[in-house]
């Protein structure tokens, strides 16, 4: 589910060219430098950043954190239908249902989530932003051709939006087959409409901004205006959206695993798969479900906190 996480604070209008804060102007700071300064002062940002950093470190340094290989089911013989070995000297979190070391699975699972999450978001961003920018750019420029391009692209986006995004992702993944790539493409595709709308809105709104009219009057080529001015101004909200989407992408990867889509090996370290496998072994091993679930939630939380803080820091109207 691409949950566009709404701000809890006063609203920002996406797409409006972000005016500079008085304070920043006085100090001679650019938009980004000002945002960064505000970011550093925000406790939410720090919380989020710490969690994200932890997640990335664990994902990257996985081989250093555990000596076992992920998905290695060499202890499958120790697992029976009535007992799954718990924490012990060799396995400090115990085994999982398929005979892998639970700690190893968790740690390498971070890697999978990061990989899947980042790639799918980047994919969605690339395709969605391009579509949206095209639609918005042409739409802003106007004329018969421009409106047609805008309308066609938006109709396509509408078709994608006709179905709730999880189900859209599910259909695409089911079509592409049982693999990790299918999951990534599916989740990326489900994010395209969000980015498309964002960019289009931003471009359209900016089309009316004074500086664009001025640049146009000055004779600057349209493509130059778009590339050098309009697009960079849309960066802020886009990055915020990408960060927030990364959070939901991580959750969606888990959801798709829950529905049986994704790579075929049951022992592959991925938090969503671990949750699925843990369901009917609650009585003897609740930790099999609780640990991955909490991991998913905390990681998504980290990205969300950071994205929230980023959004607030880019919006000069927030003064609290």
């Amino acid at each position: 589910m691409s949950i566009p996480i709404p701000p809890a604070g006063p609203s920002t209008t996406p797409g409006a060219s972000v005016a500079l804060d008085d304070k920043d102007l006085e100090g001679g700071l650019s938009l980004w430098q000002g945002a960064f300064r505000r970011l550093r002062r925000s406790p939410t940002a720090w919380c989020g950043a710490v969690i994200v950093a932890l997640f990335v470190v664990v994902a990257a340094a996985a081989p250093l954190l555990t000596s076992y290989q992920p998905g290695s089911t060499q202890w499958a013989g120790d697992v029976t239908t009535t007992e799954i070995p718990g924490p012990s000297a060799d396995h400090w979190l115990g085994l999982d249902r398929y005979g892998s070391d639970l700690w190893t699975q968790l740690v390498y699972g971070a890697r999978q989530s990061l990989l899947y999450g980042v790639i799918s978001t980047v994919l969605g961003l690339a395709v969605g932003a391009t579509l949206g920018a095209l639609a918005g750019g042409f739409g802003a420029v106007g004329g018969r051709f421009g409106t047609v391009v805008d309308a066609t692209i938006m109709r396509l986006v509408d078709i994608m939006l006709a179905v709730p995004s999880l189900l859209l992702a599910v259909s695409i993944a089911a079509m592409l087959g049982q693999s990790g790539t299918a999951v990534v493409i599916a989740i990326g595709a489900a994010q395209v409409p969000v980015f498309a709308r964002l960019l289009r809105g931003s471009m359209l709104a900016q089309g009316k901004a004074d500086y664009v009219l001025a640049a146009n009057a000055l004779g600057l080529r349209r493509s130059r205006i778009v590339m050098s001015h309009m697009l960079p101004n849309s960066m802020g909200p886009t990055i915020v959206q990408a960060t927030l989407n990364l959070a939901t992408a991580i959750i969606e990867v888990a959801a798709l695993s829950y529905l049986g889509l994704g790579a075929p090996d049951p022992a592959i370290a991925e938090w969503g798969r671990m949750l699925v496998a843990a369901q009917d072994r609650f009585d003897d091993a609740a930790r099999l479900a609780i640990l991955p679930g909490v991991a998913i939630a905390i990681t998504a939380l980290g990205f969300t906190l950071f994205g929230e803080a980023l959004r607030e820091s880019l919006d000069p109207r927030t003064r609290r």
């Binding site: 499958a76 013989g77 239908t81 249902r97 005979g99 075929p264 003897d284």
Partner: protein, 546 residues
Amino acid sequence: MATAGVRSFRACVAGIAAGSLVLVGCADSERGEGDDRNTFVFAGSEAPKTLDPFYASDGETFRVTRQLYEGLVGTNPGEVTPAPLLAESWEQSEDGLSYEFELKSGVTFHDGTPFDAEAVCANFDRWYNTPENQQTDDKAYYYGKLFRGFATGPTADAAIYGGCTADAETTATVTLTSPFAGFIAALSLPAFSMQSPTALEEYQDDAADNVLTTDYSTQHPTGTGPFQFGAWDQGSGEVRLERYDDYWGDVAQVDEAIIVQIESPRGRADALRNGEIDGFDLVGPADVAPLQDDGYQIENRDPFNILYLGFNQAQEPFGDIRVRQAIAHAIDKEAVIAASMPEGTLPADQFVPELVMGYADDVTQYEYDPELAEQLLAEAGATGATITFNYPTNISRPYMPQPEDTFNAIRSQLEAVGLVVEPVSNEWNDYIPQVQATEDHGIHLLGWTGDYDDTDNFLGVFFGQRSQEFGFDDPALFEEIAAPRSLPSPEEQEPLYQQVNRDVMDLLPGVPIASPVPSLAFAPEVDGYQTSPVQDEVWNNVTVGE
């Protein structure tokens, strides 16, 4: 100082909390009370497809229709051997082409019409005259398979049904055009239940576009069984059956039987613990011990199924018998069973379960011997070979309750002898085509639940002809399996089938793993449930409480 807002918020919270307590109280109070009606609530895993068993082949449909209908032949309680039911006795002619049935007298269908020889012939003729659009295997599967053909359509020439005559009110003779040793045993299948011709005439439309949703199939099933139809709520899948007071045998002890569907084994166990059901089928292996510890009853059926690891000999290196033998020796069946199947499951050593006629005591055994396995692999030049291992996900079959766990256990054993395993999983509806209709699979897990006591029901299905599932062509074996079919009686067939089992285990087209013990669970106050390996389980003697 609490503002008005905060105060009303607190009031809200208090109100919700109070309301919840009331709900919880009400939910609880229903469970303790006894109801006026004595009911038996049973949970299956899926909703029945139809209530006309002639067009069905799935266990959940049969679970319900076994209460509503009976056939000429039944089974001995708890066994697979045929026993008289609506037919008190029968006589088979020397050449096996004619069977004379003496029927029970005084039996009526639920709609009051009499069960007699005319009704029997009406049923046999109806089956033979199935319209072409229902002759496919997803509808009239059993008739097509066992009687080989229908009156019309491409199979008309192969049909073995000769005809039926009502000699007297309680005597009917059925003739065949070719001997069929399994005829009597086949008549114990629910698909061949006796249905009321009057009701069929009035409500059923055999030529309908969707015969599963006709009036008869959903609202007016009419048989002679101890329960009659009450209601079928399509929204929840719940079927309600009422006691049939004019039943010829032991009248049902409970007033009402309710069948609900709960898809997950865990969900069924929870519902039992909750008191919302009295019993359920297909207990998950991990739930058996906890339920027993908590005082619930676990009943096991004698296994009548087989789980095997099949080889695709069309793919290297499985064409080499040494590789197949090596894999057979690499598998520790006890460990696989411990990891994924209910307690009490025994390992299998051939492709039919022990109860089936034709089971041979002296087939070649393949003991768990990893060293021998490695040696054989080396001889075949397949040490460290990469093999594809296909298995299904998100499905639970009676012969394979937890495929992922079974796969995992076997995989680790194969890896322990140096093989490299490449897993390929599919959802069930994709898995079947993948392993049965393409050459693109290596070793795979599959199995079979027997329908009735006939080796051909197992071996014929697996190895009766060349198949893409096993990828080999052995005309001598196919002949050997086909030969007994034309013999008139099971006694003559038995030695031949035993030989087939021995030969199959030498050729080793696959490794039989186990016959999992399917179990049922019941509340402590339930009594009188008779299990049957072929699920011929009628609930007229079940009591709940007291």
